[in-house]
């Protein structure tokens, strides 16, 4: 486990990023893996940076809430109370956290390869509607409809992800543009589907699909939605995959230095494709779980801002899969509590968007240190070299 405080005795003398000579932390050397001293510095720094960023965002948020004429302390108390300490609050929070962890992972995995997947939203939407449709069509299968829905959801999400990967490897089109375009295309397609071919006739004109069968609904056991368990397990699997398997090593090598990876014989295009397929699959799974576990049908509002929250979560988690769990939980708390906040104080739930944006801003500006470091160490930072070329 890569707990951040696992090596306090190796506390760095200089937490400031030293301008390392270009070739000192040689990438790709197996001995210089994530356990190295420099990595320890990063981990130690990261947690401090993130905590400071969170506190800073809360403080700025408090000022903004104050400006709206509400006692900020009361507002935060309401959010946390609603999300954690009401009768079904924790269950709802965990249900909310489930897709957040998955969309977070859908950003983390490509980030390790040096790709920035902004397309979680579209992958989620198409995965969700495909799952809702497939599960409805196969409701005669009973519980097996869950399997069908989930698999179809994953496949559709992966398909959307792979389009971006193919355009990237085949034509060198930057993934940020393609995934954003795919988000918009997916939104158009699902709107068309729920107002046309897939619309439930008994919904009274509301754009949504048929309810899936009773047996196809993923239950909540002892207050914990089963989907949450799936998300946590997948976060663990991703962490294990990145750390302990050849594939994970390839991911990191491609992400750190694409040229070196090419010389080492790593099939870069295949790794990129795999990363985006995994990412799309995870986001599609998030959509499928949301359909099977929470909504039991598809409607366009199902995605909310989940895809974009995934970006915040991934950067909060510093592209470490394990940290998507607490990061996702935190965002889940805010999102769940915000509804109660509006009821209690009249503050619009969009305050959470603002809070998360400020957090993201504060978190990512110190990403600076990391990226400087990376780009000095490896000359070219993977997230930008591919631009336009």
């Amino acid at each position: 486990m890569s707990h951040p405080s696992a090596r306090p005795e190796r506390e760095p003398a200089e937490p400031v990023t030293p301008p390392a000579p270009p070739d000192s932390p040689a990438p790709g050397g197996p001995g210089d893996g994530p356990g190295g001293l420099l990595a320890a510095i990063f981990r130690y720094q990261s947690v401090v940076v993130i905590l400071v960023a969170l506190l800073g965002a809360m403080a700025i948020g408090a000022a903004l809430i104050r400006y709206q004429g509400v006692n900020p302390w009361y507002a935060y108390e309401t959010i946390f109370k609603q999300a954690l300490f009401t009768s079904d609050g924790l269950t709802r929070t965990l249900a909310k956290t489930t897709p957040l962890i998955l969309t977070g992972l859908a950003v983390v995995l490509p980030l390790r390869v040096g790709l920035f997947n902004i397309g979680g939203q579209g992958q989620f939407l198409l995965g969700a509607i495909a799952a809702a449709w497939a599960a409805y069509q196969t409701s005669a299968l009973g519980v097996l409809a869950i399997v069908v829905g989930v698999v179809v959801g994953i496949l559709f999400g992966a398909m959307v992800g792979s389009i971006a990967a193919i355009l990237k490897t085949w034509r060198g089109v930057h993934e940020v543009i393609t995934t954003i375009m795919l988000n918009n295309i997916a939104a158009g397609i699902v709107w068309w589907l729920v107002t046309g071919p897939f619309q439930a006739p008994n919904a009274g004109g509301i754009p949504q699909t048929h309810e899936i069968g009773e047996a196809a609904r993923i239950p909540t056991v002892a207050g914990i939605p089963l989907g949450f368990g799936v998300a946590v397990v997948l976060a663990l699997v991703c962490a294990w995959m990145l750390k302990r398997t050849t594939l994970g090593f390839r991911f990191d090598t491609v992400g750190k230095n694409r040229h070196a990876a090419g010389y080492a014989g790593i099939p870069i295009n295949r790794v990129i494709l795999l990363a985006m397929v995994f990412a799309g699959g995870l986001a599609g799974l998030a959509g499928a779980l949301e359909v099977h576990g929470v909504m039991h049908h598809f409607e366009p509002a199902i995605a909310g801002t989940l895809g974009f929250d995934g970006i915040t979560i991934a950067l909060l988690a510093r592209s470490n899969p394990l940290w998507t769990i607490p990061a996702g939980f935190l965002v889940g708390i805010l999102r769940t509590g915000a509804a109660g906040l509006q009821f209690a104080t009249g503050i619009a739930p969009e305050i959470v968007d603002l809070l998360l944006a400020i957090t993201l801003l504060l978190v990512s500006i110190p990403v600076l240190g990391r990226w400087i470091f990376r780009s000095r160490a490896h000359k070219v930072s993977a997230a930008s070299t591919s631009w336009g070329s």
């Binding site: 089109v173 295309i185 107002t195 780009s375």
Partner: protein, 333 residues
């Protein structure tokens, strides 16, 4: 002029063919043609302006993924600035100011702090969405409509004058001027040569005595004015309302248009007009019920087109050499 035509003979020929075709269409059915061209141009104006933001940024070596956010915040600030102050001018200025501030933010984080340019831009977009959706208040109206002017002389040219210079918004006129000025600026002035140098090979430019950091800062920040104008156009001119997320990916469309236009202002403007024309055609076919496709799907056309255009164009055009890479003085690259 002759040499310029000779060098750009394919572009000029293509432009001439398009122009002739446009006039023939206009002669056949002037009403439909005119309304379609006007629709296309009003669709293209923010794209042209944003593509120019992208061109200036990338020619100086800075990727601006945050155009979308600049556009959204400027649209927001322009609309609510005007609605609350009761003055269109205040609205316009606050929109432009916001574009400038966000441009400055992007420039500072990426150039001074060498933050990853893609991440900085995406963060900017998310912050823009957060701010505008929280402070959005429904039910506001603009104090007046934006003034529309006709340029005497130019507006009496058939078709071209009617589309571009007759009863047109000020910002649309500014867009035309900006395209020409930036094109000439980039390829004919000292500023342009230096800008292209710092985007192509910053360490060589540095050796030649150009202050790369300062020039990048200034260029990216000032380009924000154009993004601000585009935002103001969106919420105050082409429509008179602000909605959450109303930029709807236009900032990214503009980046695609920039690539399609090979990082050249005139070609980018032509590409934006092409996008506008295809969209206009689709909506015309839709309203005349010649094709029967759901409007939601027709709405995705610009995005699909972007993917196709990028897949086709990406391999054929070359980006500025140092785009996306932070410049560190004394660091050989």
């Amino acid at each position: 002029m002759g040499a310029w035509v000779a060098r750009n003979k394919w572009s000029v020929t293509l432009a001439a063919i398009v122009l002739v075709a446009a006039y023939i269409f206009y002669a056949l059915s002037s009403g439909t043609a005119l309304s379609m061209y006007k629709y296309a141009w009003s669709y293209a104006v923010p794209l042209v302006l944003c593509a120019l933001v992208g061109v200036v940024g990338e020619r100086s070596g800075v990727v601006n993924i945050g155009i979308e956010g600049q556009l959204l915040v400027s649209a927001f600030a322009g609309f609510f600035g005007a609605a609350y102050s009761g003055s269109l001018l205040v609205g316009m200025l606050s929109g432009i100011g916001c574009g400038l501030i966000l441009g400055g933010f992007l420039a500072w984080t990426t150039v001074k702090w060498q933050m990853d340019q893609i991440i900085a831009g995406v963060v900017l977009n998310i912050v823009a969405t957060g701010i505008t959706s929280f402070y959005y208040k429904p039910g506001q109206v603009l104090p007046a409509l934006m003034p529309h002017v006709s340029i005497p002389g130019l507006s009496s040219i058939p078709l071209i004058g009617e589309v571009f210079f007759k009863g047109t918004g000020v910002i649309a006129l500014v867009a035309i001027v900006a395209v020409v000025v930036i094109h000439i600026g980039l390829f004919r002035t000292r500023w342009g040569l230096r800008t292209r140098a710092i985007g192509e090979y910053p360490s060589a430019a540095d050796t030649a005595g150009i202050n790369v950091i300062r020039m990048r800062l200034v260029n990216v920040t000032l380009a924000g004015v154009l993004a601000g104008l585009a935002g103001v156009y969106l919420s105050m001119d082409s429509t008179s309302s602000f909605e959450r997320g109303m930029s709807a990916g236009r900032g990214f469309l503009a980046l695609a248009i920039m690539i399609f236009g090979a990082w050249r202002p005139l070609r980018a403007a032509a590409a934006a007009l092409f996008f506008g024309f295809v969209t206009a055609t689709a909506s015309q076919l839709q309203t005349e019920q010649i094709i029967n496709v759901a409007p939601q799907l027709v709405g995705t056309l610009p995005y699909v087109m972007t993917l196709v255009v990028l897949a086709v164009a990406a391999g054929k055009v070359r980006a500025p050499g140092a785009v996306g890479q932070p410049f560190v003085k004394g660091d050989k690259s």
